[in-house]
Amino acid sequence: MKTLSAILASVTLATALSGLGRPVFADDTIKIGDINSYSGLPAFTEPYRKGWQLALDEVNASGGINGKKLEVVSKDDGGKPADAVTAANELVANDGVVMLVGTFFSNIGLAVSDFANQKKTFFLASEPLTDAITWSKGNRYTFRLRPPNYVQAAMLAEEAAKLPAKKWATIAPNYEYGQSAVAVFKKLLSAKRPDIEWVGEQWPPQGKIDAGAVVAAIAETQPDAILNVTFGPDLVKLVREGNTRGLFKDRAVVSFLTGEPEYLDPLKDETPEGWIVTGYPWDAVTIPEHAAFLKAYQAKYNDYPRLGSVVGYATLKSAAAILAKAKSTDSEKLVDAAEGIRIDTPFGKIIFRKADHQSTLGTFVGKTVLKNGKGALTDVSYRDGAKYLPPESEVSALRPQN
């Protein structure tokens, strides 16, 4: 019996791992490793995949990277940081990728960025929003595409300061993203409008909001305006309860991310009107580069792009541009090439700042409105991330000093 178990143990380990062998490198292709929560958040990551696949086709159609074909090896991280690190390991050690891109959740982004720092691999974080990735836990090898919490909070605070509202209440999911969004928004808004009073706050657990109780608790504090940071199914519950209980009547509402199609579309004809949101009005973008992207995306997929599509597309285009400029696959050269590089994206030109490796990609701010029984954005304008990021001279103090 014990011998049997001993044999079984060795056989299991041996057979399972013999197949994993040693890495194989090909000379005529350049491989990029992509990690994302494909199983955990398909509503965002499926459009994200379509976005980078479109970009990949375009890059290879126009000659690849200095003549070499670009290839993407994509792995799912199952929504867990530990599995994301395993995936990163496999990509780097086994599949021979020259850089890592992707991730969605902030904690996964941080885990992979730390891994990249340890293994000295270039990592372009596409979606994670936590400020820590480029500031308090930033490192040399990590770059980030999407505008962080700070920038989105700054954009919304700018609009919020124009409102007459004096008493504000906040509703945010109880984890780092929600906590930092509220903290930064409060700081920036109070700086612009010292007369503002913060009368109430609610912190429902992410994914488990007890909407009735939260709405009633907030209504009791009688705010003039509300900041909402919840998204996804929590947002839907909040909107339904809030609408029925009249929470949003005669109140201004400022909301993070609600204008993104992934979160706006499910609301359909119950979309609350007049909310000031960040988002992506895919059918009303007037930026010239966007038209070409929209046409190509719709032609290839017969579907409209989501914000994830733009993120995936821009991520791959950035990676390709960095590889082309560096003329090498060495991580140090990639980092040097990426600092200060200018990239064309569907939202216009962006720069990856040298001081904190954060891109100046911005987002749209507008007001929600109902159009043909669906949610849409009006009064919408693109805000350049560069305008809202702290100046490069200040950010080095925010990064780890070593």
């Binding site: 019996m1 014990k2 011998t3 049997l4 178990s5 044999i7 143990a9 060795s10 299991t12 380990l13 041996a14 399972a16 791992l17 994993l20 040693r22 890495p23 494909y38 199983s39 398909p42 792995k75 799912d76 199952g78 867990k80 940081p81 530990a82 690190v85 395993t86 390991n89 050690a93 902030s106 904690n107 941080l110 730390d114 891994f115 109880n174 984890y175 780092e176 906590q179 609610q202 912190w203 657990p205 994914g207 488990k208 007890d210 909407a211 009735g212 109780a213 009633a216 608790a217 009791e220 996804g232 199914p233 839907v236 519950k237 339904r240 309860e241 209980r245 992934e262 579309d265 499910p266």
Partner: protein
């Protein structure tokens, strides 16, 4: 005053909705003693099916028929699952059924994305109940009022069913004493199937009723399952009235709690459960489980230490493992390291589950304590000290929590371990200054001498081999025999003077310490620690490893971990639908090998030896 009343009524609506979701589980558990992990999955299925039906059936009649039809359909599916899968393993260890339902949950989670797509779906509002009523000057949704009425109505209906029908008598008898009712000639199979079907009907009904309140999403099952389990346990397993009371208490405390501590929602249910179980070990209205008449059917064969041949082979295997860095690349080495770590983790859980008969749903708490302990120690000390600090933290935690946990037994013990694990999790999640919150701690890398994949692999191999060897020594020591005696027949063991509380407490602490060592190594392997390392999914994974290997065998934990971890790493790397694949794998393995892989092999060997007329040598 008006506000307090309004908040109270709001809490009642949440209570009703929670009760409707949970009552089915209470009934299922009461009769068949199955902790039905798939309850949340069927809740979610009910909502999805109701959504689809509501797109075709309109009007008031259409809406309500959609809800009822969806529940019936889900119940039929549940009955099918019960007949084809669960029935095969009723004779096996109770946990196998839990594992099977866990496999079903995984399959359903990916299946709904495949069938209905990834986006959240918003169903229609209930016709005629879209607005709000003015209650004491505050608008109150009319649909919520309907829910408040439906809760007690369902409770009354269930009580009538249980007390006034013949079927109800059988169900209550089965809840009290399952073996006796079988002895009296009741067809257990149909009783269990009908109970399961009714329970699933109620779950799906609860899910479908949520259609006007929230979006149908593929994470609905995870959102509800822990709340449902907790509410059922607080109320007392098998007692539907208890479930109702518990739902009311939990929802009201939440509705008023968030007025004082807005962040309390994260941990409230678990605090309540821990409190209730410490004071009333069988829940508010629960009864102590009927004493088992037979000795636990857990043992498949005699356990004995390695024979000299066995030791030689073990040495060969370890030597082969030590030579792996000469043939394997970096990636295979890190995978092997991870598998080794989980082998130790599962072996520590096996001490509790296999040897002690104590099923823990919260073993990851000690894994996580080890990881956080090591990570926090690294800030001031080096790696070697951290690798000692981690297990010490796990030891301390297990010492503290173990004392409370071992006062209970059976599922209540399991749920209390879960409660403590979740409380630890929410502390780690919220105490951002120390633990980094959900952003975790990063930069936990080994010292230079152990930094390369090969060196860290050797370090892990040495520590894991020592750990597993020590666990085996403990297993075959007088203490280990005492532990097994308590598992097999508690009454007799106590009669000869073994102190159950003391021995099981020691076992719990030892298991916790070894789990923490695994956790500390894991922190250094991944370079980071997150609250996930304390989370329920990890606890369930560990349980799956022990059960798949065979809880009734000595090396079940170790082999199960090697098998499960290797397979799951490979599956996640190959496909986005890893949950579907792993779920199917679990279902197949559990149905094919109810005694675990190792148990089945041993039984096969035993049969062969018997055929050849030899004695069985384990």
């Amino acid at each position: 005053m008006a506000f307090v009343f309004n908040q109270f009524v709001t809490g009642l609506a949440s209570a009703s909705s929670l009760f409707l979701a949970a009552c089915g589980l209470s009934i299922i558990f009461g009769v068949s003693r199955i902790v039905n992990f798939s309850h949340g999955a069927f809740y979610m299925l009910g909502a999805y099916i109701a959504f689809t039906l509501s797109q075709y059936l309109s009007g008031a009649v259409g809406f309500w028929s959609a809800i009822v039809l969806a529940s019936v359909f889900a119940a039929a599916l549940g009955a099918a699952v019960e007949i084809t899968l669960l029935r095969r393993i009723y004779g096996a260890h109770e946990l196998l059924q839990l594992l099977l339902t866990f496999g079903v949950t995984l399959v359903v989670e990916d299946a709904v994305v495949l069938i209905w797509g990834p986006s959240d779906l918003l169903g229609p509002r209930a016709p005629g109940l879209k607005g709000a009523l003015n209650l004491f000057g505050q608008p109150f949704p009319t649909y919520d009022l309907l829910l408040i009425a439906l809760g007690p109505l369902t409770l009354i209906a269930i009580q009538l069913l249980l007390r006034r029908t013949h079927w109800g008598v059988l169900v209550r008898a089965a809840t009290q004493d399952r073996e006796m009712i079988a002895a009296l000639g009741v067809n257990q199979k149909w009783l269990f199937t009908s109970v399961f079907a009714i329970g699933i009907f109620l779950a799906a009904f609860g899910g479908a009723l949520e259609l006007p309140r929230e979006a149908v999403s593929h994470t609905m099952d995870l959102q509800i399952i822990t709340e449902v389990l907790v509410v059922v346990v607080i109320g007392g397993l098998g007692n539907v009235l208890g479930t109702f009371l518990a739902a009311v208490i939990v929802s009201e405390l939440n509705a008023f709690g968030i007025l004082i501590f807005p962040k309390i929602s994260l941990v409230l249910v678990f605090l309540i459960m821990a409190l209730v179980l410490v004071v009333r070990p069988w829940g508010l209205l629960g009864q102590p489980e009927a004493a088992s008449r037979t000795a636990s059917g857990l043992q498949v064969m005699r356990w004995s230490p390695l024979s000299p041949r066995g030791r030689l082979l073990a040495a060969v295997v370890i030597a082969a493992a030590a030579l792996m860095p000469l043939v394997g690349g970096n990636y295979s080495l890190t995978v092997a390291t991870e598998v080794l770590i989980f082998m130790l983790f599962a072996a520590s859980l096996h001490l509790l589950v296999g040897a002690g008969g104590l099923v823990s749903f919260g073993h990851a708490a000690y894994f996580g304590l080890g990881a956080y302990g090591a990570a926090l120690a690294l800030k001031h000390f080096g790696m070697a000290t951290s690798l000692v600090a981690g297990p010490l933290a796990g030891f301390a935690g297990a010492l503290l929590f173990g004392w409370f946990c071992v006062r209970l037994s059976g599922v209540y013990f399991a749920m209390l371990t879960l409660a403590f694990a979740q409380i630890l999790w929410s502390v780690a999640f919220q105490w951002t200054e120390v633990t980094g919150g959900d952003n975790g701690l990063i930069g936990i890398w080994p010292s230079a001498w152990a930094a390369s994949a090969a060196h860290f692999y050797w370090l892990t191999l040495v520590l894991v081999v020592i750990g597993i060897a020590l666990l085996r020594v403990i297993l075959f020591s007088p203490f280990g025999y005492a532990l097994r005696a308590l598992r097999d027949n508690e009454l007799r063991a106590e009669a000869i003077g073994l102190s159950r509380h003391r021995i099981q407490w020691i076992a719990f602490t030892v298991a916790g310490a070894f789990a923490a060592l695994a956790g500390a190594l894991h922190a250094f392997l991944k370079g980071s620690v997150f609250p996930d390392d304390l989370g329920i999914p990890l606890s369930i994974d560990a349980l799956a490893m022990v059960l798949l290997g065979g809880a009734g065998t000595v090396s079940g934990g170790v082999i199960g971990a090697a098998l499960y971890k290797t397979l799951s790493i490979w599956v996640v790397s190959e496909t986005d639908y890893s949950k579907l694949a792993i779920g199917l794998l679990i279902i197949v393995l559990v149905s094919a090998f109810p005694q675990g892989v190792l148990g089945a092999l041993a039984a096969w060997r035993g049969r062969r030896a018997a055929e050849h007329g030899k004695g069985v040598s384990p």
